[in-house]
């Protein structure tokens, strides 16, 4: 029987190694798996490379990991979201490496990892500082840069409802990076508001099919 439910947050975040690449979903605080990231912090894991849109808000979740010095590097499109003081302190102290990636490229690079794509050409960042050092190519008279996939060792996501197979449904703009991150990691861990009976989610409206999900925990 397929049952992806685990009993605790501690079990949900177990097995993440030091130095792991961690996909942290959310757009600011919306859709962020705060409780999972808080639980990850308690494991003592360190030297993490976190991939996220922002670099944490307030003192919890990703911000908490940064505050405790668990994050070696953050790959994001826009570090400063609402109340970014943990990020700012770590960055100014030179304790956090920052890699800025355009938001669409960030998302597409994770999708590439999810889809077995070894690299792809896009116009975004061509002819700019963020495109420097990347292979370029002129296609139909326009300049493109070659972008590489980003694969996570683990993805932490948040959904509204799930079933024991791991099928997920989100809520409004809290969907954001969750579906693409859920696809793009070796291990995908999801916190959900509610787990419903198998067969009670509408087959037409599931956004993330369970094939992408490894662990579910109700928060």
């Amino acid at each position: 029987m397929i049952d992806k439910r685990v009993r605790s947050l501690a079990e949900a975040v177990s097995g993440v190694r030091d130095g792991a690449t961690v996909l942290c979903s959310g757009f600011g605080a919306v859709g962020e798996p705060v409780e999972l990231l808080n639980a990850l912090r308690e494991t003592g894991v360190r030297d993490l490379v976190c991939v996220a849109n922002n670099a944490g808000t307030g003192d919890e979740g990703l911000a908490g990991l940064i505050k405790d010095g668990r994050v070696r590097k953050i790959i994001c499109s826009f570090p400063r979201t609402t109340d970014p003081h943990c990020f700012e302190a770590a960055y100014k102290a030179g304790k956090l490496e920052l890699e800025i990636v355009p938001q669409g490229t960030l998302s597409e690079r994770m999708r590439a990892a999810a889809a077995g794509i070894g690299g792809f050409f896009v116009k975004t960042a061509a002819g700019t500082q963020l495109g420097e050092g990347k292979e370029t190519r002129e296609i139909d008279g326009e300049l493109y840069v070659l972008e590489q996939p980003i694969k996570g060792d683990v993805a932490f996501c948040r959904a509204d409802r799930a079933d024991r197979w791991g099928n997920l449904i989100y809520r409004k703009s809290a969907r954001n990076f969750n579906p693409v991150m859920a696809m793009a990691a070796e291990l995908t861990v999801v916190q959900v508001r509610e787990i419903v009976e198998l067969g009670s989610l509408d087959a037409e409206t599931v956004v993330t099919p369970g094939i992408f999900v490894d662990r579910l925990v109700v928060v």
Partner: protein, 223 residues
């Protein structure tokens, strides 16, 4: 000479959004435009975080913390609006499906280069968000910005001094003094505020300006 207020600038840019257009409004000043869509036009506003058909801020008591725009302000959804994930949101942007991206800027060059993501201030960590994607992906990129900085430095320049968001992307610039088009023949003034002449505008602009034959006065109602 009476420069437009920020709300008047937003009003002016909003007048050019056509019925049925799919539009992304950049964070800050451009976001104001949604308040000034002429009656009878349906504009579908896109947000990078997975919304088409975004509506205005919620009324008190109707806020939903899971419904925010790219600037992380609470918003609403119009009938016909839909949600999707980030990857589809950027497919729309990068694949040329948006009619207009209306963005803020630090600088615009006479070739339409846009600089709006970093001033390279070492005390201010950089962040690009979706700016580069919007600049290369939207069918038409327009900029809404004050004509000069607080220090009086022209924003419309021969070359951008800040790092580029994208080269050759801006088609039109709305400022508090003028409406300007970036053309192959350079920057063309379409509209100027009352009591301003080309010489006066040129003095506030680094790029060389040409006056359109059919130029008009830029005026906006009190909004």
């Amino acid at each position: 000479m009476k420069p437009l207020s920020r709300r008047q600038m937003a009003w002016r840019a909003a007048q050019d959004l056509e019925d049925g257009a799919y539009v992304n409004l950049g964070i800050g000043l451009p976001t104001l435009c949604s308040d000034f869509i002429p009656q009878g036009r349906e504009i579908v506003f896109h947000s990078e975080n997975g919304i088409l058909g975004m509506g205005p801020a919620p009324r008190p008591g109707e806020e939903d913390k899971d419904l925010i725009n790219a600037g992380k302000q609470l918003v609403t959804l119009l009938p016909g609006g839909v949600f999707f994930h980030h990857n589809d949101a950027f497919l729309m942007i990068r694949g040329g499906h948006l009619d207009v991206a209306l963005l803020g800027a630090f600088e615009v060059s006479e070739k339409g280069d846009l600089a709006n993501w970093t001033t390279e201030d070492p005390n201010f960590p950089p962040g690009v968000g979706g700016a580069m994607d919007l600049a290369v992906g939207a069918r038409e990129v327009r900029v809404l910005v004050e004509h000069v900085t607080k220090e009086g430095r022209p924003r419309i320049r021969k070359h951008c001094s800040y790092p580029l968001t994208a080269p050759h992307c801006v088609k039109r610039v709305y400022t508090n003094l003028a409406v300007l088009d970036v053309t192959r023949e350079g920057v063309v003034v379409r509209e100027m505020v009352e009591e301003l002449d080309l010489e006066g505008l040129q003095a506030l602009t680094e790029a060389e300006l040409r006056l359109a034959n059919d130029w008009r006065r830029l005026a906006a109602p009190e909004v």
